[in-house]
């Protein structure tokens, strides 16, 4: 197991270096001079421009800029945004909001997804199964912003049950609707995964043994079938949590949630290179760490994986 952990972490290092380099390269290939853009219509003082350029290391060659930046990351310094605020401070403000939203969405999709998937799998081919498969196909086909707008219109405007946008401070009750929207697509995937897994497990010998021992289905279904069907679902959930922490840009934008995705999007639109690089780097870091944890967890559950060279 130690060797497996070591190998897995070793593999992540080139990926991390490659990803940060790629992002850095893309962002700094952006046209336009960000320093000049700071001054808007005014003609900037050349001395001030030179000083700012030196401050952001923009006067150095590209590769040196990247190395300076990389050195900063290892010291926990992700640089300053163009408004002068440290990127870590912006993250400290926005990340809890996104995390709250992601956890809420994860709770929704886990609870409803496993419930519907379990019932579907146990009643394979029946009406409930057919309709839950149809609903999951439709949910997968709907782009997230369509779901968001329909949710906003139906629950926010029409029924008036929820606020259409999140108020400042992002209280939990305002996050329910965005979290439901965010959960909808993964919900469909979890229903399918659970269903497939439950159908597979129900046909196994130990389930038949359990029934023939005279156990009631009230015991066999949760203890024997469900528990043994959850391995692929748990893996998916862990990966999805990483995705939720990272990729809620559109939903956060539509519901005006002051989270990481929304802030990042604003920074991209304004052409704030350093902020973009730092945010994406942190996101990729989170994503990589979550993925390593998932793999380790999976290796723990299934010995076949950790012994594969």
């Amino acid at each position: 197991m130690t060797g497996y952990i070591f190998r897995r972490i070793l593999q992540a290092i080139p990926v991390f270096l490659g990803t940060t380099f790629l992002i850095y390269f893309m962002v700094f290939a952006m046209p336009g001079d960000p320093i000049v853009a700071l001054f808007g219509d005014k003609t900037p003082n050349p001395a001030v421009v030179a000083q700012l350029r030196a401050q952001y290391h923009l006067d150095q060659p590209f590769i040196v800029q990247y190395l300076i930046y990389l050195g900063g990351i290892f010291r926990g310094d992700f640089g300053l945004s163009f408004s002068g605020e440290p990127v870590t401070a912006i993250l400290a403000r926005t990340f809890p909001v996104t995390a709250r939203l992601a956890i809420l969405a994860l709770l929704f999709e886990t609870f409803f997804g496993i419930l519907v998937g379990l019932v579907s799998g146990l009643r394979k081919g029946k009406l409930f199964d057919a309709s839950s498969l149809a609903v999951s196909l439709i949910l997968i086909s709907l782009p997230i912003f369509v779901i968001a707008f329909v949710g906003q219109y139906v629950f926010g405007v029409w029924l008036g049950w929820a606020r259409t946008t999140v108020s400042s401070g992002a209280p939990l009750q305002d996050l329910v609707l965005p979290a439901l929207v965010l959960a909808s697509v993964s919900f469909a995937q979890i229903v399918r995964l659970t269903r497939a897994s439950v159908i597979e497990t129900s046909g196994l010998d130990f389930v038949r043994t359990a029934y023939s021992k005279g156990l009631s289905s009230r015991r066999v279904i949760p203890v024997h079938i469900l528990r043994n069907s959850l391995i692929p679902v748990v893996t998916y959930l862990a990966t999805d949590f990483g995705v939720l922490l990272v990729g809620a840009t559109i939903t956060e934008g539509i519901f005006n949630v002051p989270g990481v995705g929304n802030t990042l999007y604003q920074a991209i639109i304004r052409g704030e290179g350093p902020t973009v690089v730092s945010f994406v780097t942190v996101m990729v870091l989170i994503y990589l760490v979550v993925n390593i944890l998932v793999d380790l967890f999976y290796g723990l559950l299934d010995p076949r994986i950790r012994y594969v060279k």
Binding site: L22, A29, P31, I138, F145, F149, Y153, R195
Partner: protein, 328 residues
Amino acid sequence: MSSNPTGGPTDVTPVGGRSSTHYVAPLDETPLVSVDAVKVAEKRSNLWIDAWQDVRRRPMFWISAALILVVALVALFPGLFTQTPPNNNCILGNSNGGPADGHPLGFTKQGCDIYSRIVHGTSTSLSVGFIVIVLTTTLGILFGAFAGFYGGWVDAVLSRLGDIFFSIPYILAAVVIMSVLSQYRSVWSISLAIGIFAWPSTARVLRSEILRVKNADFVMASTALGLSRFKILLKHVLPNSIAPVIVITTISLAGAIVAEASLSFLGVGLGSNIMSWGNDINQAQNDLRTAPQTLILPSIALSVTVFAFISLGEVVRDALDPKARALR
């Protein structure tokens, strides 16, 4: 079974009845002729014929195929479906107006005909979808095939390279690329921005399939026959591992259409001079309260198109994968 060509004791009463003669079981022999006969008329079966036999019996296949046919017709010949120009002759007096004579779906905020804009937006979505899958399939096959077949350091390098592109959420990456390419916003540049980060999934699927196929007996047989490694990959391994690639290609076509609409919706996608459902949804979002139809109608067109490709992909996957078939 019932026919008895050898002429056994057919006159014997079964065991249950009372009879003086003892019971002799009937000879059950399959005539040799029927065993030996080569069934010349019977078609040879393979994965693709089996899949077709399975797919043609599923209503979902015909529904999605019909939808795709209609969408393709609209994309290729928009003139057959509407005569109203999508961008010209927009009258602001009609802003957010309901259906009128010759304008069955009403008007956008700018007073343009919604139906015509939806019809003319179809080809944009489909073009982006097709360019992206050409890109992802080419890159995915190159990377996946070499990584899976040659293994070793080739696999290590190519797979880590794929991981790098895979670790950046591709909507975010596309947003960054599109801001870099803000001067060159076109169907081509947006397809490039999406495709360059979407190919690792194709490569991963192909790689794991090739890992499975490359140890098959027919590969060893071709090695024994003296075929070069590259020819074995090209002629034997690749054709036998392409099935999952076809499935993921259909589904990523749908994904690319969604990605284009999302980017246009975020305002970093196609320019406003290009007809795009995502642009129209973006334009309509501020009027959600007063004129929801301007947002809902292009959303429906988008969702139906995506639905058609995703359900086609799923039907094909079920047909090509016996394990998925068992779940139905």
